[in-house]
Amino acid sequence: MSRLNDANIKLAREIIARYPRPKSALIPLLHLSQEQNGYITREAMQHLGELVGVTSAEVYGTASFYEMFKFEPVGKYLINICGTMSCALMGAHELMHHAEKKLGIKAGGTTTDGVFTLAHAECQAACTEAPTLQVNYRYRLRVTPDDLDRLIDNLRDGKLNEEFPPHGVLSKVRQSIDASRAVGAKAPEDVNESPVWLDGKAAL
């Protein structure tokens, strides 16, 4: 079942309603779908197209632009090792070689047990703490080969389940806007007036 499940459809509709145009919700919904299935399936893209009112091709066009969306199953843990400038200066390549040896796979591959996928990544915005890696987009900084060994062992042993949810789960907290507090989104063509607080007077 790779269309969104009922609970996620409800969530999807809430998310869509926050935007002046439904297609804006596409990337958040692709994440939701990846959270549900671990990767982006064909049926999921068709479903999202229906939900936001665009063709499956448009969904695919958008989804395939962004690197976080995977169109084939990946390991439960996606280990992204940064290889850009600062990390490269601080030994990222050696770290990658070590990871390849430790996991017995090449970058881009997935372990046969489906637990780990190892990948090259570009700058992760933690340059001062190089070399860095992310497991399912959660950081490990100033990683030594020993750190990496321990991390992989602990992940495999399930000791880090709390910190690292399976691939696809991004933020563990969702924004939720209570209807009583929401201003609500309107299509731009339905708004013609200046905001009420621009009346030259203080709001308070």
């Binding site: 990337i27 994440h31 958008t62 700058c123 915005a125 209570d178 507090r181 708004v191 607080w197 621009l198």
Partner: protein, 473 residues
Amino acid sequence: MSKTYVHAPGFVAGDRPKIVTSRFEFADSFTLERYLATDGYKGLRAALSRPANEIHEDVKSATVLGRGGAGFPAGTKWGLTPQQVWPRYLVVNGDESEPGTYKDRLLMERDPHQLIEGCLIACYAAGLSQCFLYIRGEMALAQERVATALNEAYAAGYVGKNILGSKFSVDIILHWGAGAYVVGEETALIESLEGNRGMPRLKPPFFPAANGLYGQPTIVNNVETLANLPWLLNHGVAAYTAIGTKTSPGTRMVAVSGHVKRPGVYEIINGTTTFRDLIFGEEFCGGIRNSNALKAFVPGGGSAPWFTPDQLDLPFEASQVGPAGSMLGSGAVMVMDETTDIPAAALTLTHFYAHESCGKCTPCREGGTWLERILRRVVDGEGTDADLQQLLEVGAMICPGAFPHAANEKLGLTAVPFPYKMTTICFVGPSAFAPVHSALTLFRSEFEARVKKRVTIPVTAVATETASVGVSA
């Protein structure tokens, strides 16, 4: 003196004015409770107690510079929207991904309420009726912290309908990306927010302030820029402009990475702090690791032309860095010591920009990859002299004319000032060339040492200068 915190890895505090990092010392800095206990939402209250246009004036007269890269004053930007066109939107650029740069991530993870308050002040002052807070996809923790903070702030009446019981109402919608560097460019960010492929739009006609999200006037502001506003409203314009220089007031966050003793993110005084202070100063990085010699540094994120020790005494001030041949960009210094393999270092950056090309403009899509392939050949020891020339010529297809570079006394080079001409819409294409150009201009001998030495033998009597064949020596 310098101080670090386990809960804020990467951040280094110092005895300097703190405009945006004042709460970083607290382990619970991201909670509403801590925020309220430390002057939180006081700036918003101060703003709402005055007419919106006055707040806009304050931001203008404080010259709050954009911290995203271009350094355009926020107050001026807000004023570029066409008259009487509604609705107008605020899009917060939290898609931080310039190599070497990070500070927005820390601001979102450590002090999300400060950002939210900044968004609210901006919406109030500029009449923006909905705010979209776009966070980079790969930043799970930042998303969690901002989501939590927004949920708290909505519940407490700081965001949403009738904020603080006033007539001011605005939604802040948390949005997040999915891995594409180019989306940090503001028009690409807007495309992405519309659910499209993040391909930049040409300015003009797509200046966001006039024609942005859904074709409406849209203000795109960087996270750090907005994070400045609560403090500004709390302390006033005079206090703000008292820090830094006239043209670059306040502070700014700078990440210094690479071969330094104490890499870290510092909130520095804008305009006066020099690169020497940053790299060698005891309150900052404390010099090069293992007491090695400094070879080169990138002064403003991966896109910036490189500097050598000759430029160490330049201050962190756009009006001086530009003429010196580079740019301040997003506040990121990457330091290379004498052990650095310069061609290989350039390759990591060129690879980055070639990989991150959106594919829209031909010169970037085709030229970036071409540069990377030639450079890789050179780094792998398979290149030729002609390849070095070819690198510059492919680069000229992306950036015609003289490309900016720093002066160098030893090489007898005088500076070519920033900016460059370009045949592309955005800076990704030129950025693939910038490291190649800098490396080749400042360290050509390292490339020459790498290329295969060849002897050229004319094949026929009528051979022209280009029709020749190379034989390995």
